[in-house]
Amino acid sequence: MKQEFTITVYTENQIGLLTRIAIIFSRRKINVESLNTSPSEIENIHRFNIVINETEEVVKKLCRQIEKQVEVLKAYYSSNDEIIWQELALYKVPTDQVAEKVQVERLLRQYGARAVVIRTDYTVFEATGHREETDKLIEILGEYGLIEFVRSARVAIIKNSKGFHDKIREFEKQEPGEEVVENEYLDKNESIFSM
């Protein structure tokens, strides 16, 4: 069954790697719902967050293809209950509408939004949260003349991850220990090994 998965990829910082990773999806005609690249907890190591809607089996195979790329250190996949995630959204609305209608302010407080810029002609609000929350706010602000809207990609933290500090030390060694070469996807699925 298809469901939302977040893929977390630790990579070297290299021009062209974004293409290499993106074509793993496009080649298989898989739509990327959201893609974010950022620094990670380790200096010079980048972290991709990619959200797709697929079956676990497909996601597992995709992770192996991603990990196969020379500059990729590791790729993990997580279902939504295994991560903490946020998206950031910006909303531009006419200031007169906001000022006139007190109700708007209350709504904004309810959705944890805050004003980033207030000008005489428009005000920009920012909200972070899950897709449904930021979507709700579009609906509501739409009634008050929403001028512009933009939302960032998902950023996600894996709940039970210990981070990459220990892993990277293993990678730097000439002969890596079990930590790095474990086939985590295979281990995850113990049932395949029952004989």
């Binding site: 070297e12 062209g16 293409t19 074509i23 195979k61 293809q65 020379v70 500059e71 990678f171 730097e172």
Partner: protein, 582 residues
């Protein structure tokens, strides 16, 4: 050792340029090649790679450059070279069209795991993205068809980037690497700090640590098996594990069948070699895939041409999959026990744990199917009743004359399947073919490269009348550099494989498969290559012998039946057990 004594003792001995000398980026490229043991480059010059070619002018004593007639010919030649020599093939091409002409070869090398380092020239860095003359975004065009690629814009990067390129191309599951070097970087003088080979990249794990518990599980499965079956692919050859492989099957007594990329890793006449897998493979190996209880796949990737319909493939069997590439495990066929690792390391571990056994009854089943296939397919093809010659009888005669010692290079199509089915091999790295990509036009240039990769061996290219016309210009390369390849054109006056499908599955509606040929003898003679045409059986053996005995390249055109088909065949969408004998 001083330069002078080195030169007098061994004229080709190269004295590496000492560190802290100022050299150009171009010289650094050639120094890298020499440090990596490159002896042959297949290439074609052009505007954006001229500084490298200028530097090459002073390196012709140490580096043998073969001027091909088209960059596609260059890269296929490098593939042939890599496949017979076991080394990394090297290619030069210029920017723009020179580089785009490499794409087919890159895709071919990518899918068939052939180690290549291709160096392309690129416009000056300040012109990148301006639609400059012969500028193409080569890096992005080649990203999906390279194991790694990189654009160099500063000469200081050249030594370590090339070191990385050779390391990546040749290690783990090999593949093609492309390095695009802007013209300014080729010209740039920089402080050379010497060349250091690369043996570690932190984000790249070519060889996984072998996990003993899986070896043990695999051995247990094998030891309990009643009808085990080994499938082997090119991984055995790439891993240089032919001996380890033989030791494994000989101790375990398990019959083994090959994919066309694995062909020649095990001698054809080995008693446990039961034949070819896949769409045009042998009867027994296909049928019994769906009867075995333990399937041991070694260095192969379950291509759809091997598995046929996947949901009816070996469903009854427990699958042990040995592969160096973790992405192959469970990709197409779910494994019961994955043995992730280099088979050069995993096979001996497995051999140690498996019981010494024989499976006479199980092996007999293969022989029974073989008998049926012999009667219904092989014998009628090898010894046809009519006057019309068949491809199989050509191979039969060739086997007799070469004793199976030749390198056989094929193109793509019916002749390829016939050659793979019938050619005999006594040693590894002897079957050079375009497996995964099915690249028509591969044969002739690959044969040229194969000869440079194994100069002491007889190299016979078997090519159809379609494929030869795709890269026939490489006869010019043979003319100029004298690669003594023996070229057999099996001419059936059709694009035979497509015709066969149109006959079987499209109601004989022969749509554009009727291809005409030039006078190949005249063409060959135009290139000063000896040639002969054979139209009757009586001349066949004599002509083949003349070709093989000839000192130098030779082209032999053999007229074969127009509408002969390759059987057995697993029709597309059918299970391997539904293989048809006619």
């Amino acid at each position: 050792m001083s330069t002078a004594t080195a030169a007098s003792a061994e004229p080709k001995k190269h004295t590496a340029i000492p560190a802290t000398t100022t050299i150009s980026g171009s010289v650094a490229v050639l120094e890298a090649f020499i440090a990596e043991g490159v002896d042959t480059i297949f290439g074609y010059p052009g505007g954006a790679i001229m500084p490298i070619y200028d530097a090459l002018y002073d390196y012709t004593e140490k580096l043998n450059h073969i001027l091909v007639r088209h960059e596609q010919g260059g890269i296929h030649a490098a593939q042939g070279y890599a496949r017979t020599s076991g080394k990394t093939g090297v290619v030069f091409a210029t920017s723009g069209p020179g580089a785009t002409n490499l794409v087919t070869g890159l895709a071919d090398a990518m899918i068939d795991s052939t180690p290549l380092v291709c160096v392309t020239g690129q416009v000056f860095a300040h012109l990148l993205g301006t639609d400059a003359f012969q500028e193409t975004d080569v890096i992005n065009i080649t990203t999906p068809v390279t194991k790694w690629n990189y654009q160099v814009t500063d000469a200081n990067e050249i030594p370590h980037v090339l070191a990385k390129a050779f390391y990546i191309a040749g290690s783990g599951r090999p593949g093609p690497v492309l390095i695009d070097i802007t013209k300014n970087a080729q010209l740039q003088q920089f402080a050379y700090e010497g060349y250091k080979k690369c043996d570690h990249i932190r984000s790249y794990r070519p060889k996984p640590l072998v996990r003993k518990e899986y070896i043990r599980q695999a051995a247990d499965l094998i030891n309990q098996a009643k009808k085990p079956f080994v499938l082997f692919g090119q991984g055995v050859i790439l891993g240089k594990a032919e001996q380890e492989f033989r030791a494994f099957i000989e101790k375990s007594g398990i019959p083994a069948a090959w994919t066309i990329m694995g062909l020649s890793a095990l001698a054809t006449d080995h008693p446990l070699n039961v034949g070819m897998l896949g769409m045009h493979g042998n009867y027994g190996p296909n049928v019994l895939t769906n009867e075995c209880d333990v399937l041991i796949a070694i260095g192969m990737r379950f291509d759809d041409r091997v598995t046929g319909r996947l949901d009816k493939y070996a469903k009854q069997a427990q699958v042990i999959h040995l592969d160096i590439d973790p992405a192959e495990i469970d990709k197409n066929v779910k494994s019961t026990v994955p043995v992730w690792g280099d088979c050069k390391e995993t096979l001996p571990l497995l051999t140690e744990l498996v019981d010494q056994k024989v499976y006479p009854q199980w092996l007999e089943k293969f022989h029974d199917y073989r008998k049926q296939e012999e009667e219904q397919c092989i014998q009628p093809e090898m010894h046809p009743e009519g006057e019309v010659m068949t491809m199989a009888e050509v191979l039969d005669a060739l086997n007799e004359l070469t004793g199976g010692d030749a390198v056989i290079v094929t193109d793509v199509g019916q002749h390829q399947m016939v050659a793979c089915r019938y050619a005999k091999f006594t040693q590894s790295k002897s079957n050079i073919t375009s497996g995964g990509l099915g690249t028509m036009g591969f044969g002739l240039p690959a044969a040229i490269g194969a000869k440079y990769g194994a100069p002491e061996r007889q190299v016979v290219a078997i090519i159809g009348d379609g494929g030869i016309q795709m890269t026939i210009q490489e006869l010019g390369t043979i003319m100029q550099f004298g690669a003594a390849v023996k070229i057999i054109i099996l001419n059936n006056q059709f694009l035979g494989m497509v015709r066969q499908w149109q006959q079987l599955f499209h109601d004989k509606r022969y749509s554009f498969v009727n291809i005409t040929s030039p006078d190949y003898i005249a063409v060959a003679k135009g290139y000063y290559i000896e040639a002969q045409k054979v139209e009757v059986r009586e001349q066949l053996r004599g002509a083949l012998k003349q070709m093989l005995d000839h000192d130098g390249a030779y082209l032999l055109e053999i007229m074969v039946g127009k509408e002969n088909n390759v059987f057995p065949m697993v029709p597309q969408g059918c299970s391997v057990a539904e293989i048809r004998l006619k």
